[in-house]
Every structure is written in structure tokens, then in C-alpha cells.
């Protein structure tokens, strides 16, 4: 008997020893964040890294399908629009729990809207009308009614970003309803997301989601390193690949890179038109003349910019809306054509004279200006250098100055001590309302001449009027008509010289299954809960 007992013990011991070996190693999806996430609070997220974490962790009332661009039910199973678009009634999903086990109730939605009113961030501002935030109230069993301060066009897209908070959970905003939750955060190194054990969604076969156990987001500012780690198989995806890297990767791992076509983003150049800026009055006069701006624009070979500076992975810039944004793009507009003769004629009409050694204005000042851009961005440096060469041909002398980002920001937002600036717009919202504070002449992000007490030009006044009107219109066709006009004005007046619209370039390791590449952010993980990794053995061999 005793020896039998000992055998039993031995078997138990063996099984216990073997258990950790049998238990599957967690399946970890890995990719990089390019900056430190500023916050894990879903309502405060504004930077890329925080938005990524928010997207993967927060639960929202509805979700805009990144492929079809249509809203789909999420925490709300259905909704009804009332009062001409000012009020929306939501029916909520039942029996859901937050990641920490707290039950999800309609009061949580009401609480979330209260927080929207209290917290000041770019995101909460996008829900406001004027200075008024939307409110919510419980109006029935599992029913919440949201009242916007005015008719809010594109509210579906806005609520797609509204992470629902728990009112009662002791974990506060750390209790989430999305597929993942923040498990560990090491400053400057990584954010580890774990599976939300209470995630409500099931896949088509009724299996629990998400499919991977963890997502490891390594924080690295070094993009070459990111590409190298991708090649080595240490990370699975790159959400946004630089043109240079794309070219290299395409040569080495042709199956892994994806070009999803024209993005919503653009690279643009603008002249400082701020009246109180410290630049010489005669230069300000050039920059405020639309003839001068158009002439400069028409002296730039945009095809070359797209082909050389962007390695052929971009299209010539048209206007505020990229041709990639098929819903809102004004298809009547074409990029400003390269026409130096026309440009010179325009300049001559304004009193400029071309002499042997360069271009002079009517008062005899040599036409020379500086372009500032942020240092370390190879594509922008190339764009600026090419523009410099193009403009030299019509006699304009350009000095390119690269500045570190805070120094650049100070110049364009504080002292306005700069002449022209080359920057890009990233993470552009598909809906024009996302650019409200760029187009309103009173806004701080009206880069060429911010925070005007009243519009200084007639065309800016018209844009103000159109932007405000479209935001209060529900019918898409009518909004489009108004925003088409805004695009036409910008095209005509050229406060921004749009240079190129970049392509959406991503990279996905062959071991990743089910990933969906979309033009809308996030480009490679919009269906993160569905993403699978091929057996880790294969993955390891790729390392």
C-alpha cells in the first residue's frame, strides 16, 4: 500500500510539475508606441499613444466600422435620433460588467457625460457646442437619452471616441469595458495590456474575445529601431511606416508591407499673416497677398515632391480634404499646377520685378524668406529643400531652418516670429468638425493668423460662416455643399499650400491573422479583439 501511495504522490508531483508546461504560454501581440502615453484617462487622450491605449481599452456606446465607415452597435444595442438631431436615445446592452467586475448601468453613461462637462480636453471640446457640453439622463430601463447643446453633425463619430467610465468602481477610470485593460506600465519602456476577462463581445462562433491574451506596446521614439525589430520578428505590426522605411521593408519583406492608398493626412506650408508679428512690414504684405501665395504655390513641382521626397508614396496636395477622404473631398479641385510663367505674371501684376540676381518687390526689397520645420523629420527636410530649389528658379531665395519641436511650437503659437512654416496635419478626423479650430478665424489653431478678434478678410469671414452653419446641419449633402465651398475658398486663397497627401503605409508580420488595414485610424488594429497570432512556434522561428 505504501509504495502505491508513493507512486500516487509521484504522479501528482509530476502532473503538478508539468502543469505550467502544459498551460499555454500567453499569446502576446506586440507593436510600438512612438511616444509616452500622456494619460490613460479616456476623456483626456489626445496624443497618438494615449489614443491607441484608449482605443484598445475603452468601451463605447457605438463603434464606427473602420472599413464601411458606418456606425455599429456596441454598448448600445440600438438608438433613435430625435428633435432634428439634437437628442439621441440609446438602448443599452444588459448584463455587462467592467473589467473589475462592477456592473455596467445606465448611470455610468450619465456619469461619463458629467465628466465630459467637467474635463477640458481636445476630445471633450469636440462634443461641446460653443461652450456647452452634452448632457445625459436615464429615461427608462436600460435607456439613456443624450441631449447635445445643439444639432451636432457627425455625432456618431464623436461618440465612437467616448470611453464609458464607471461611476461606482473603486478602480475609477481603470475599470474599462473594452477588449483589453492596462495591466502594467513601465514609464518610458512599455505598456502591457491584458485581456479584459469581462469583455462582452463574442466572435461568430460564440467564443470569447479578444483572441490574443496580451498586447505589449513598446515605447520607442526611434523609428529605425522599430523597423529593425519588425524585420527581426520582435514586433508584429507597424501602424504607420515612413516612406523611407517602407521602401526598405518592401525590398526585404515584400509580403509584410501594405499600402492602403491615400490617407487623410497632408504636408503643408503656410506663411505667417499675423499682423502683430515681429516680421518686417513689407514681408507681411507679401504673405498677406493671395497673389503672392498662389504664385509661390504654382512655382512648386508637386509631382516631384510626391515622387522624390515621399518616394512615390504620396499624391500631390490639393486642399484641406485629401482625395483619400472620399466622403468629403471636393472632386472639382485639382492640385495647383506647376506654372512658373503664370506665377511670374501674377507677381508682376503685384509690382514684383524679376532681375538677373533674383526677384524684387515694388519697393526694391529682395524676395527672401525662411521656412521653418521640425528637425529630424527626413521627409519634411527633403520637401523644404526641394521647394527651396523650385523657388530659386523664379528668383526667390529660401532659407531652410530646422528647429527642435518645442522651439518651433513657440514660434508658431507664441511670438509669431517666423516667416513660413512647413508641417503636417496628422490624425485628421474624417469629418470637417474635427478641423473646426483650424478654420475659424477666432481659433488658436488658425495657424496662419490665429485668434482674430473678428475676421480680418472677407474670405475668412465666409469660411467662419460656412463652418458654423455646416456644424448645425444634419443632412450630409447640405453639409458637403457648404464644406465644398470652404475647400474651394482655401484652394483659391491658399492660406495653406498643400504639398502632398501621404499614403497609409503599414507593416504586418505574416504571423498575424485577421488584421484589417484601414485608411481611418487606427490603421492596423481597428479590430484588435479579432486579431490572432499564428501558433507561437512559427512565430518564434521568425525571430
Amino acid at each position: 500500500m505504501s509504495w502505491l501511495l508513493s507512486i500516487r504522490h509521484a504522479v501528482t508531483a509530476l502532473i503538478l510539475l508539468a502543469l505550467p508546461l502544459l498551460a499555454a504560454e500567453p499569446v502576446v501581440l506586440k507593436f510600438c508606441l512612438r511616444s509616452e502615453p500622456k494619460t490613460f484617462h479616456p476623456l483626456k487622450a489626445g496624443d497618438d499613444a494615449s489614443e491607441t491605449v484608449r482605443f484598445l481599452t475603452a468601451g463605447t456606446l457605438l463603434k464606427v466600422n473602420r472599413k464601411t465607415q458606418l456606425p455599429e452597435p456596441s454598448l448600445a444595442t440600438k438608438w433613435k435620433v430625435l428633435d432634428g438631431g439634437q437628442v439621441v436615445q440609446f438602448k443599452l446592452r444588459e448584463g455587462i460588467r467592467f473589467s473589475d467586475g462592477t456592473a455596467f448601468t445606465p448611470e455610468d453613461v450619465v456619469y461619463t457625460f458629467k465628466q465630459v462637462a467637467e474635463i477640458r480636453s481636445g476630445f471633450t471640446d469636440s462634443l461641446r457646442q460653443g461652450d456647452l457640453a452634452p448632457t445625459a439622463s436615464v429615461t427608462g430601463k436600460n435607456e439613456v437619452t443624450v441631449r447635445f447643446a445643439g444639432v451636432t453633425a457627425g455625432w456618431e463619430r464623436l461618440l465612437d471616441g467616448l470611453g464609458i467610465l464607471s461611476e461606482k468602481s473603486p478602480a475609477k477610470e481603470k475599470a474599462v469595458l473594452g477588449p483589453f485593460m492596462v495591466a502594467e506600465y513601465k514609464t518610458g519602456q512599455y505598456v502591457l495590456l491584458g485581456r479584459n476577462p469581462n469583455y462582452w463581445m463574442r466572435d461568430a462562433q460564440g467564443q470569447t474575445l479578444p483572441k490574443v491574451d496580451q498586447i505589449r506596446l513598446d515605447i520607442t521614439t526611434n523609428r529605425d529601431l522599430e523597423a529593425l525589430r519588425f524585420r527581426r520578428g520582435e514586433i508584429h505590426m507597424i501602424n504607420k511606416v515612413e516612406p523611407d522605411t517602407y521602401q526598405t521593408l518592401a525590398g526585404q519583406m515584400p509580403g509584410a508591407v501594405r499600402n492602403a492608398g491615400v490617407s487623410f493626412e497632408s504636408e503643408q506650408l503656410w506663411f505667417n499673416q499675423v499682423t502683430k508679428s515681429p516680421i518686417p512690414a513689407y514681408k507681411l504684405a507679401w504673405f498677406r497677398s493671395s497673389g503672392f501665395r498662389r504664385a509661390v504655390s504654382e512655382s512648386i513641382r508637386r509631382d516631384d515632391l510626391a515622387r522624390i521626397a515621399m518616394k512615390g508614396l504620396a499624391v500631390p496636395g490639393v486642399g484641406p480634404v485629401s482625395p483619400g477622404n472620399t466622403v468629403w473631398f471636393n472632386s472639382k479641385l485639382k492640385p495647383h499646377a506647376y506654372a512658373p510663367a503664370v506665377a511670374l505674371a501674377k507677381l508682376q501684376k503685384e509690382g514684383f520685378r524679376k532681375k538677373a540676381d533674383g526677384l524684387y518687390d515694388a519697393a526694391g526689397n529682395r524676395v527672401e524668406f525662411s521656412i521653418i520645420t521640425n528637425a529630424g523629420n527626413k521627409t519634411r527636410e527633403r520637401l523644404a529643400t526641394m521647394i527651396q530649389a523650385d523657388l530659386a528658379e523664379i528668383g526667390i531665395r529660401v532659407n531652410v531652418v530646422t528647429l527642435d519641436f518645442p522651439a518651433l511650437l513657440e514660434r508658431i503659437t507664441r511670438g509669431y516670429s517666423y516667416e513660413a512654416c512647413l508641417l503636417g496635419l496628422t490624425n485628421v478626423d474624417q469629418d470637417p468638425n474635427g478641423q473646426m479650430n483650424v478654420w475659424l478665424s477666432s481659433a488658436a489653431n488658425h495657424q496662419w493668423n490665429p485668434s482674430q478678434a473678428r475676421p480680418e478678410t472677407a474670405w475668412e469671414a465666409e469660411i467662419d460662416k460656412l463652418m458654423r452653419a455646416q456644424a448645425r446641419t444634419v443632412v450630409l449633402a447640405k453639409r458637403k455643399e457648404m464644406f465644398d465651398r470652404v475647400q474651394a475658398i482655401v484652394h483659391e486663397q491658399a492660406p495653406f499650400l498643400y504639398l502632398v497627401h501621404k499614403n497609409v503605409l503599414t507593416a504586418i508580420h505574416p504571423s498575424v491573422r485577421n488584421s484589417l488595414v484601414t485608411v481611418l485610424f487606427p490603421h492596423v488594429f481597428s479590430n484588435a479583439e479579432q486579431i490572432e497570432l499564428q501558433s507561437s512556434g512559427v512565430y518564434r522561428s521568425a525571430r
Binding site: F369, S370, A375, N399, D404, A407, Y418
Partner: protein, 265 residues
């Protein structure tokens, strides 16, 4: 060996000065149909990503950097030598003050000084002035290391037999300083010069991150050397490595030409 070194250096100087006449292309001309070209008959070192002739850029860059970097080095070493020598020689409070300033210069992030200087400078600076200002700054800010080393060397010499003997023999302190001490510091100064020139050339390129340094379209040896980091992915290794070879040749030639001790030349 020495003759070879001198020959190389002279050839280099001539090529840098006459570069524009030797090559068909200007350094800023963008051959937009021939970007990233490999070395060939038209472009001996190929072209860069904007289609500019690498050979023309190399010669122009060499002219800028090999002229200005030695000047900046001499400035930095002169400043460092003056402070280091006087600190080592006089000792006392002056030595403590100089030492404190040296420690400060070494520990404080000079980066911040440079971006502040950039903020004060006008934006419309020609590329040549920009690079001159940068080397001037490097010279003015780069003396602390020299000063510390020279101060150390000076203290050693002060304790050496010949200085003690000279002082005992009634030589004036100034005379000892100038006639006996200074020449004995030559090896240290020489090393500093040889180390500082390539150091400043590379530093200048890094300052382009702050809006200082050479500005487009003018190249500098440093900005060309920075492209070396593309070496692992570029097929044009010759075009990328040429600036490093040129700089190494110049530094190596200096090693041979500068006499290892005073009076030996």
C-alpha cells in the same frame, strides 16, 4: 611618409578649393531624374536622394568643414590653454574659480545654450554664415575639456625637476611659464587639436537638429558623414563612405605632419 602625408593634404586642399571647376555639377543642383544613382561616369560617387552629385557635395563640404573646424579647434584650445595654464600656474582662488566654471561647463547641458542662441539669431541667415556661426559657437563653448587637461598637465610640469631648477636658478615666473612650461605642453595641445577637429566636424552636423549648423543646400563634411548611418540599407557604399575616408585621410595626415614634440620638425 611625411612627404606622402603632405602631398595628400595639399591635393585635398586643392580639390576642395577647385572642386567647382573640376566637376560638371554644382553641389546644390538637383538631378531629379537621377536620384540615388550609383557611381558612374556622370556622377563619380553617385547622387543623393534628391539627385545631387555626391562628389560635388563632398568637395564643397570638405572646403567648409576643413577650413572652419581647425579654426574652431584652435580657438577652443587657445581659450582652454589660457584658463588651464593660469589656473595651474597661479593656483589658489583663481584655480578654484576656473575649476568650478569648468565643472559647470561640462555638467550643464550645452544643448540648452545652443537652442537659446538659435532663438536669438535671425532666421534668414545664409548657409555659409550659419555654419560659420556654428563653428564659432563650438570654439567658444568647447574649451572646458582642454582647460582641464592642460591644467592637469601644467601641475605635473610645475613639480618637475626642470621647472624647480629653473626657478631655483632665479628665472622669473613668467619666463619659466613661457619658455619652459608652454613648449612642454605641446604634446597635449597637439593631441587636443587632432582630436578636436574631427570632433567638431561631427558635432556641427548634430547641431542641425537645433537649427544651427550648416543649412540646406550647402553641405558640410559632418552632414555628409551623418548619411553614413544609411550604409546598411544603401547600395551606394562608395558614395556614403567617401566623406569618412576623406576626413580620416586629413586627420591621419595631420598626425604625421604635426611634430610629436616641440622643435622636432
Amino acid at each position: 611618409m611625411k612627404r606622402l602625408a603632405a602631398g595628400l593634404l595639399i591635393a585635398l586642399a586643392l580639390a576642395a578649393l577647385a572642386g567647382e571647376f573640376l566637376l560638371p555639377a554644382r553641389y546644390d543642383q538637383q538631378f531629379r531624374e537621377e536620384t540615388d544613382a550609383l557611381p558612374g561616369a556622370k556622377h563619380p560617387l553617385g547622387t543623393d536622394e534628391l539627385g545631387r552629385d555626391r562628389a560635388a557635395r563632398l568637395l564643397a563640404g570638405a572646403r567648409v568643414s576643413l577650413l572652419l573646424a581647425p579654426a574652431a579647434s584652435v580657438l577652443a584650445i587657445a581659450l582652454g590653454a589660457t584658463l588651464g595654464l593660469t589656473a595651474g600656474w597661479f593656483g589658489g582662488w583663481w584655480d578654484r574659480a576656473v575649476s568650478t566654471v569648468i565643472d559647470l561647463m561640462i555638467s550643464v547641458p550645452i544643448f540648452l545654450v545652443l537652442i537659446t542662441v538659435r532663438a536669438v539669431l535671425p532666421l534668414n541667415v545664409s548657409p555659409v554664415s550659419s555654419v560659420m556661426i556654428t563653428f564659432l559657437l563650438l570654439g567658444l563653448l568647447g574649451w572646458a575639456g582642454s582647460a582641464r587637461v592642460i591644467r592637469g598637465a601644467c601641475q605635473t610640469q610645475l613639480n618637475s625637476d626642470y621647472v624647480l631648477r629653473a626657478l631655483a636658478a632665479g628665472c622669473s615666473r613668467t619666463r619659466v611659464l613661457l619658455v619652459h612650461l608652454l613648449p612642454n605642453l605641446w604634446p597635449v595641445l597637439r593631441t587636443q587639436f587632432i582630436v578636436a577637429v574631427p570632433g567638431f566636424i561631427l558635432d556641427e552636423a548634430n547641431l542641425s537638429l537645433l537649427g544651427l549648423g550648416v543649412a540646406e543646400p550647402l553641405p558640410s563634411l559632418g552632414s555628409l558623414l551623418k548619411e553614413l548611418t544609411n550604409l546598411p540599407t544603401s547600395p551606394n557604399w562608395l558614395g556614403l563612405a567617401a566623406p569618412a575616408v576623406l576626413l580620416a585621410t586629413a586627420v591621419g595626415a595631420c598626425e604625421f605632419l604635426l611634430p610629436p614634440k616641440e622643435g622636432a620638425s
